[in-house]
Symmetry: C2
Subunit: 263 residues, 2 copies
């Protein structure tokens, strides 16, 4: 049994409802967005047009709850430690199980997550400040618009990690090889240049110190589709709660080949 | 004016209706598939699940005929030298203009084309046999199934170029860097291993000689979605005619950044 399968079994059994960072190490984790079928084409198109923040790994069609490629035997209505329920553009509740809310017209989207590039960055000898500080990564709303699709639009959200200029080059090379999990940074240096007003007050997550000689480096972030979801004001939609991800059976090493295998 | 814009103007004006290979060199060319909106989610999902044969560059929504990102000012109902019209799963006619068939519920899909990796292969000092012979590239139906989505399913179609084993390694490295236009080969050597019965009788295009010491090398091919379209038996669908591509204003050098820019 994969450690990822054990973790999903614990989640489904009600024995684990915490953030998944560092759990089942080496297995790809994913963001989840569930929308009714009437909005599924537009959301799929939103992902296609905004691949930096929305790197789509798998789409599970209406009538199904199993992510067959990422995790055979999974149940998307029960296998995530914490869900968020959105009604008419507001987050109305968090739950550990949405099986009683499930509708046959739900379409589920699983998107790559930056957790999968943390180990390659650490392996390259880089420090990840929020890990050192033991806090959530800081995330900011930018002035860069996403490319709209139907009801979905809104600002690009970015995560930030501080590095020296030399380390930032290394970090760009390492993450640039992983487009399935946001890829290379989208900006480095002046936060104001992308519309960030206060680097010490992130809109999501926690602030981290930027030391002398360091610059902030910004990556497209998987919170972006949640902003688009708020703007879209669907009657009902469901996501994972930030940090409480879907844990797949795919090894991180397989990511570069995930979309490029034909068997 | 870009050479690509001049070529599209000539096509629209009825002054060019030939294959586009070698025309407007350096500009990305694309496969076109047009389906009614009722089938658009399924076809978009088919592309998402089969990125090797169906590397999606742009989707043009219902009510629009302009590929805004690939070619501002373009008209997908008139800017392709030759179209194919499919009715109930049969190809019923070829035309040079489909503006009188256009419906407001048409959704257009533009997919990367292997024409864009020919120049990088030539630049790497490799010979492309079908170019040397002045014929169309040979294409084969394989026994590898695509991942189905809704009504769309069918076999993977591959294109073939012969190389020595050493050249084949070089060709894999060159094309592996271009996933937007089918990427690395999916097979090399024994045609029977992927269900090809007669290497001298391709299902599409023309046969080419394989010389002593050479092996056939196979790439996922943009004809694959046309096979899926035949299987889907939609009442109406439109594609380009093979070799008669949509010519965009995007430079081939920009391809690696096309999906990974956020501005």
């Amino acid at each position: 049994m994969h450690p990822s399968q054990e973790l999903r079994a614990a989640i489904r059994g009600g024995r684990f409802d915490k953030p998944t960072s560092g759990k089942a190490p080496g297995y790809v984790q994913a963001n989840l967005v569930i929308v009714p079928q009437a909005h599924a084409f537009d959301f799929l198109l939103f992902c296609q047009r905004n691949q930096k923040p929305c790197p789509l790994l798998e789409v599970v069609e209406a009538g199904q709850r199993e992510a067959k490629r990422l995790a055979p035997g999974s149940d998307l209505s029960r296998d995530i430690p914490r869900y968020r329920v959105f009604r008419d553009g507001s987050m109305t509740e968090e739950r550990t199980d949405v099986s009683d809310l499930w509708r046959n017209d739900f379409v589920s989207f699983l998107l790559g997550c930056s957790f999968s590039f943390e180990k390659p960055l650490l392996d390259a000898g880089l420090e990840i400040r929020n890990l050192t500080c033991g806090v959530n990564v800081p995330m900011y709303r930018t002035a860069i618009p996403t490319r709209p699709a139907g009801a979905f639009s809104g600002p690009l959200v970015v995560s930030m990690r501080p590095f020296t200029p030399e380390q930032a080059i290394k970090a760009a090379l390492v993450t640039g090889k992983l487009p399935e999990v946001h890829g290379a940074p989208i900006h480095q240096g002046d936060p104001g240049a992308i519309g960030i007003r206060a680097i010490d007050r992130p809109e999501y997550g926690d602030p981290v110190p930027i030391r002398a000689g360091e610059i902030p480096v910004f990556w497209a972030c998987g919170v972006t589709p949640q902003e688009a979801l708020l703007n879209a004001k669907l009657p009902l939609a469901i996501t994972h709660a930030p940090g409480h991800m879907f844990v797949s059976d795919i090894r991180e090493e397989e990511l570069p080949f995930f979309h490029y295998s034909v068997r």
